[in-house]
């Protein structure tokens, strides 16, 4: 099915890509200065998939986020100040500072399920999809995860259940070739995760995760299928993470040459060039996007720095309702 991308969508994705990239850069910088407690798992270099996935979703649709994809959160409307405060562990964060970077959620925007145990979010996504099917208002779930998560039994159980029940869910696997320190050849014998879809009787599609237009087209098609009641799809977005599993990871398990090769194919630069070619943006619009990103990020960082940590009493609340 041919999807037509409107100018609005193209520009939206561009803005979100710029914002996501500059945000990752900022977080990396702040972490290296020791200004963030906890850790950062940077998704720099992988932002294109997330902006396209969320661009396809309506406000009422659910997103089960892939922990490395801050771009998917941003593109779905996450408040940057609340996200930053959460990463800093402040009580003004979207999870009152209790989740930190690892399992950010914003139920009001349908962003639910991320947690510290990789792969555990996938069955939760199936639950959201089941609720959507009971509700009957055509909501869909974008359930996102990395390549490592597909080694979990939870992946198998969830995708099998969703397929057997024909649920309105799109499974999106960002394959960046590494699960923590392990190359994908340690994780699996197969080369292409999307082929697993055949085992569940659903369509599997591979897409260039660094090309937001390609991801958008694939995702929009899958979302449409799900909304029409045609069931799940497994999308594999091929990409690469430029930095280690976490900030501080010396990355001894891969070569500098490999990393540099991927950085040469920077999704932001490539997309920017494409949009210039299509005359959708020019250098004035690029400067504007950069400036807006800088301002939004500065505002968010200041908010986070100025916010207090939760008190010892406050962190004891909400265990039960």
């Amino acid at each position: 099915m041919k999807i037509n991308l409107s100018k609005k969508v193209l520009i939206n994705m561009y803005h979100n890509l710029v914002l996501s990239r500059r945000y990752e850069e900022k977080l990396i910088e702040l972490f290296s200065q020791g200004k963030i407690s906890g850790w950062i798992h940077s998704g720099i270099g992988q932002e294109a998939t997330g902006v396209a996935i969320s661009e396809c979703l309506h406000k009422e649709d659910y997103l089960v986020p892939y922990f490395r994809s801050r771009s998917s959160l941003i593109a779905k409307g996450m408040n940057l100040s609340e996200l930053t405060a959460e990463i800093f562990g402040k009580k003004t964060g979207c999870c009152k500072g209790r989740s930190g970077e690892g399992h950010v959620a914003e139920p009001a925007l349908g962003m639910i399920g991320a947690g510290g145990v990789i792969g555990s979010s996938i069955p939760i996504g199936v639950g959201l999809a089941y609720a959507a099917s009971l509700e009957g208002k055509n909501r869909v779930v974008a359930c996102c995860f990395g390549d490592g998560a597909t080694s979990r039994g939870s992946f198998h159980e969830a995708i099998n259940m969703a397929s057997a029940m024909n649920l309105p869910i799109v499974f999106v696997c960002e394959n960046n070739l590494y699960a923590e320190f392990s190359n994908i050849t340690i994780q699996m014998k197969i080369k292409d995760i999307f082929r697993r879809a055949e085992a569940y009787g659903i369509p599997g599609v591979m897409v260039d995760g660094c090309d937001p237009i390609a991801v958008y087209e694939t995702m929009a098609d899958s979302v449409e299928r799900a909304r029409k009641g045609e069931g799940p799809t497994l999308i594999e977005a091929k990409s690469y993470r430029w930095r280690g599993h976490f900030e501080g990871d010396p990355c001894e398990y891969r070569s500098k040459a490999e990393v540099e090769n991927w950085i040469k194919k920077d999704p932001l630069i490539l997309y920017q060039n494409k949009l210039k070619e299509m005359r959708i943006i020019n250098s004035k619009k690029i400067d504007e996007a950069e400036r807006q990103a800088r301002d939004a990020i500065e505002k968010a960082i200041q908010f986070a720095f100025q916010s207090p940590f939760p008190t010892l009493e406050e962190i004891k609340e909400d265990v039960y309702t």
Binding site: S99, G113, V117, P123, V126, L128, A131, S154, E157, V319
Partner: protein
Amino acid sequence: MKSLNFRWAINEALREEMERDERVFIAGEDVGKPGGPFGITKGLWEKFGEQRVKDTPLSEEAIIGLAVGAAAAGYRPVVEIMFMDFITIAMDQICNQAAKMRYLYGGKISLPLVIRTLFGTGLRAGGHHSQSLESWFIHTPGLKVVMPSTPYDAKGLLKSAIRDDNPVIFLEHKGLLRIKGDVPEEEFLIPLGVADVKRTGKHATVVATGKLVHTALGAAEQLARDGIELEVIDPRTLSPLDKETILNSVRKTNHLIIAHEGTKPCGIGAEISAVVAEEGLDFLDAPIKRLASPFMPIPFGPLEDALVPGENDIIEAVKEILK
């Protein structure tokens, strides 16, 4: 009042709550069209339809994930784990996800889900079909753990569990499914966190759970012939535990025995013993005694019967602490 068996009491609770609130739904293995492996959900699929009484694949982890996600989306799932022994497969979803999601998300959601599961001896079916694993869930903040012993308690507590906005583990002893008891005709609820004094007495307190409540009552009848009056307490909710009722009883009788299936280490008996030692040591005239299953897996067959505390075990224990 009407006479209802344990199985039907649960069925009625499910039926009434599903009629009352269309967000309540059931899911699990064979719960739908087959009516449940123990017949507990019989008739519900016919009445409420396939979407609200859903047969799932053989996937305990995904079944609980389904409950977590649906609850996060505002529904009230009541999912079944056929045998509690299989709950081990879903530990991450229960203890890492369901138990913690509300807290980790800053209180922005609640997960009003119930996990019903069949536990305990009674089928003589061996080591993977007879365990009592409630300790793991009592130990986990964010969960509530309920264990009824009568049809009345089962119905009233399940209705409350379904209306509770927290994740509740609802434990059904498979050896109790056929027992009968009086249940009101009109609607009633039993609050979670409240113990029940099943029998008053002045000489010793026996706190018993699940099927052992009946064993304790049987022992009490026998002891009464010898002039020994047992007070039998059924906690009904294991977490949060009604400490007050237990402490009040021990203050009165000065003697405490705890009887449960499941093994001793870190069992509900260990927990109650610690509570009484911390908050009621002065009440005791004798050491606390715990009766539980031996520290071993349960083998297949009739030998299972000897591995669960019986009436005589309770009688001996009472006589010993009263010496």
